[in-house]
Structures are given as C-alpha cells and as structure tokens.
C-alpha cells in the first residue's frame, strides 16, 4: 500500500462519505460509488494500523539500535 494518503485524511474522508451517504439527496449510482469509496478508505485505514512497524530503537551518534530499558 502506498503512503500517499495520511491517516487523518483517510479518516476525515471516511467521515465525510458517511455523512453524505446518510443524507437522502444522493442518487443510487452516486451512493454506490460513495459506498465503494468509503469501503476502500476504511480498508486503507485498517491496513495502516496493521502496517505500523513495531520497533523501539535508540539513536546514539547516528547509529540506531534496539532499545532495551535499563533500571537506574
């Protein structure tokens, strides 16, 4: 998946589409299009959540290493 759309944007768009779709003034064709668009966006959002990369690193002198918490 490309990162060309931010999570915020995707969520905002998703909300907008839900609002639009809930109004009665859309014709069926447009509604179906909006619905598909919305489903695509929600899929994207979910993927973005899944694709977050778990990693805790420490950056010392430009070198990145896994971070292990030490006691004081």
């Amino acid at each position: 998946m490309k990162d060309d759309i931010s999570f915020e944007k995707a969520m905002t768009d998703l909300e907008k589409i839900a609002d639009e779709l809930e109004k009665d003034d859309l014709d069926l064709d447009t509604s179906v299009k909006k619905f598909e668009e919305g489903m695509e966006l929600s899929k994207k959002c979910n993927e973005m959540l899944k694709n977050a990369e778990k990693k805790i690193t420490i950056l010392i002198d430009g070198e990145e290493k896994d971070f292990v918490a030490k006691e004081d």
Binding site: E8, A18, A52, I56
Partner: protein
C-alpha cells in the same frame, strides 16, 4: 582568689557542648554574601559569610561539596544550611555547611518570568503557531534520558495503546548545565532527518534547578522552530516550564504524553468499524428506499394492466365500426325503399297496363301515332295489342 582555674581547652569544650546542645543552632539557614572563599586541595571549602554589619566563618567539607551544582565564589549571594559549632583549637564558632543554594532562587524565578514574558510577546506561545498532533503517528520520537522511569513509562503506555507503535529515542541529559543544548540538538536532528511524526520531550519532576534546562531560551526556540509537533512532559502536573508553554501540547506527565501521542488502537479500530457500519446501513437504506419507490410505481395501473389502454382503444374502434355498419345498412334500406316506391310508380305509368284494359297503340314507322292528321290514306301501320301486333293499311280518314 582561691578558685581553681580551668584550661582554655576546657572552656572551649564547655562552650562547644553548650552550642551543640542547642537545637536551633543545629539547623540554621542563613543568607549572606560569600567572601574569602578558599577551596582547599583536600576538597573542603572555607569562606566567610557576611552582610553589611556582621560576618561568620563557614566550612563545607568535601562530603557535601559534591552535591553543589555551582562553584561558589566571592561576592555570590547565597543561603547556607548547616549547624553552628565550635572549632575548639582556634576558639572560633563557625557554620558547618551542608548545602548552599544560590540566593538566586528569587532571581532565578525573576529570570524565568522575564524570559516567559519576552517569549510570549514574541509570539512563541501563540496558539496559532501550535501544530496539530497527528491522529495516527507512525513513529514517536522521544527525547529524554535513556534510563529512568520516563522512557519506561512512555514505552509502557505507548505499547499498551498500540502494540505496533514505533518509538525512536534520542537519549539526552535532562538536567544540569548544557542539557538544553543537547535536547535542542536532538529536536533539530529529528527534524532534519525526519525521524518521527511527533516528539515527546520530557523528564520527571524535580526542583526548579533540575527543571532549569527546560526554561532555557535556546530550547524554547528549538521547540518553536520544530516542524514536527512536540508534546512536552516536563515535571508533574503543577510545574510549568517555558518548554511547556512553547510546545504544541503540554502533558502533565510522560505517561500522559504517550497517551496523547499514541492513539488507542482498539478505539481507532472501533471508529473505523463504526464508519463501516454507517456506510453499510446508509446504502442498505438507500436501496430499500429505491425498492419501495419502484414497487409503488409498479403497482400503478399502467404497469399492472398494460393492455387496458389498448383494449379501450379496441372498444372505441368496435364502436366506430358498428356505427359505420348501421349507417351503411340504413342508407341501403333507404335506397331500397325508394327504389321499390319508384318501381311501383313506374309500373303504374306503364302503357302495357292501359293496353291490357283494351286500348291499342298505333305505330307508323316505329313511332306512336297520337293524332289522325299524322296518318295518310294508304299508310301502312302497326296496331299493337296486349298480346301481339296487327298490320293494317289506312283506307279512309
């Protein structure tokens, strides 16, 4: 006078005991100005504390000087904490100093207020400059000590909210001289190399001096310049540093900062599901509505009995045909009647009828003779009777 004298040593010992047993003198907090400061090679410090009217000797042993976060010098206004005791050998009383605080706490506070006012007037705290914390940052950049509770709290809270969160720590000192410079450099590095989507700078609570790096102008400007949104988590609930005012968001504690930076993934998932359901329900409703409209439309007569209109036309045509038939028949009958009437009339006028009654018709050369003058003697004529023609000659007239 026959009183036994006591020794100097005994006197000094007596005085020392007197003084040492005085609770008040055991714990004094004195302010004054340092003079005659000497740092002995053994590590002990000797100086005099004075004000306009008086002075007192002070000594601070090496075991305590290690805790000083500044080097005392002549002319410095300080508060010293210690006990008063007697140095028996010299017969002097002095303060055995345990801690020194620059009497600058007052002035430190003033400095803080001054810098705060200055930066505020420059717009460094302006709400309009505050950047929005991203809703779902991929990488959380943390600037704090690599040891201690702060980074542990941040990691714990972050991973609890989102097990897949990515945290990138640049370890920096968070107290002591020069800490602000390293924190500022960390912010710059994060920005320059785009290492994070949101930054947390923080440390646990502490004294005003401990928090001081976060009150430095250098750090304040670095926070202001940062393109990555910064959450400050310096100290606890009640301690506000300059950094807190400049930061895009202030968290009361490092744990709270992590909560603000990392969305709870189950909440986010729930929100997405909610949108999903809204979409589905809305579309379903729309389709149902359309279905209803369609059905309502289809129950109208034109669709239900599509031949009706045509049948109606047929009836119309049939009627017309019937009308035409009647008309034609009438016309025919009339004609017939009129004909038979004429035939009867004609019949009545027929000469044959007259002949039948005994009359005869005279013809000459095929013409009917109506008058005698049309005949001449000797003419050959035909006399027509009902049942035949007789030939005759005119002999007389």
């Amino acid at each position: 006078m026959d009183i036994n004298p006591i020794t100097v040593e005994e006197l000094n010992k007596y005085i020392k005991n007197k003084i040492d047993s005085d609770e008040y003198l055991n714990n004094v907090y004195v302010k004054g100005e340092i003079s005659n400061f000497k740092l002995h090679y053994t590590g002990h410090m000797y100086f005099t504390l004075k004000d306009e009217k008086s002075l007192i000797k002070c000594v601070m042993f090496k075991s305590y000087t290690g805790y000083l976060n500044f080097m005392p010098k002549d002319g410095m206004k300080v508060c010293v904490l210690g006990s008063v005791s007697v140095f028996e050998r010299d017969g002097v009383y002095q303060i055995y100093v345990k801690a020194i605080k620059q009497d600058g706490i007052g002035s430190l506070y003033e400095e803080y207020e001054k810098l705060k006012a200055k930066l505020e007037s420059e717009g460094l705290f302006a709400e309009s400059h505050k950047k929005k914390i991203p809703m779902f940052p991929k990488t959380i950049g943390v600037l704090t000590s690599s040891t201690g509770a702060v980074i542990r709290d941040i990691i714990n809270v972050s991973t609890r909210r989102n097990p897949n969160v990515r945290i990138r720590l640049i370890p920096v000192p968070v107290q002591g001289a020069g800490a602000e410079k390293e924190i500022a450099e960390g912010i710059e590095k994060m920005n320059k190399e785009k290492l994070a989507d949101v930054l947390i700078i923080g440390r646990g609570g502490g004294s005003l001096e401990d928090l001081w790096p976060f009150n430095e102008e250098l750090l304040a400007r670095a926070i202001y310049e940062s393109e990555i949104p910064i959450i400050s988590a310096v100290g606890h609930e009640t301690d506000f540093t300059i950094a807190d005012f400049v930061a895009d968001l202030r968290a009361p504690t490092p744990s709270a900062a992590a909560e603000l930076a990392v969305p709870n993934i189950s909440d986010v998932k729930y929100t997405i599901d909610l949108y999903n359901n809204r979409l589905k329900t809305a579309l379903k409703k729309k389709v149902q509505l359309m279905q209803l409209r369609y059905e309502k439309c289809m129950t109208r007569r034109v669709f239900k009995e599509p031949l009706q209109k045509i049948n109606e036309k047929y009836i119309l045509i049939d009627n017309l045909v019937k009308n035409i038939n009647t008309f034609i028949t009438n016309k025919l009958n009339n004609a017939r009647m009129s004909l038979s009437k004429n035939v009867t009339k004609l019949d009545a006028l027929s000469p044959m009828k007259t002949i039948a009654r005994g009359y005869a018709i005279t013809e000459k050369d095929g013409k009917i003779i109506k008058k005698i003058e049309d005949l001449n003697i000797g003419d050959s004529i035909n006399i027509r009777y009902i049942d035949g023609v007789a030939k005759a000659n005119v002999t007389e007239k």
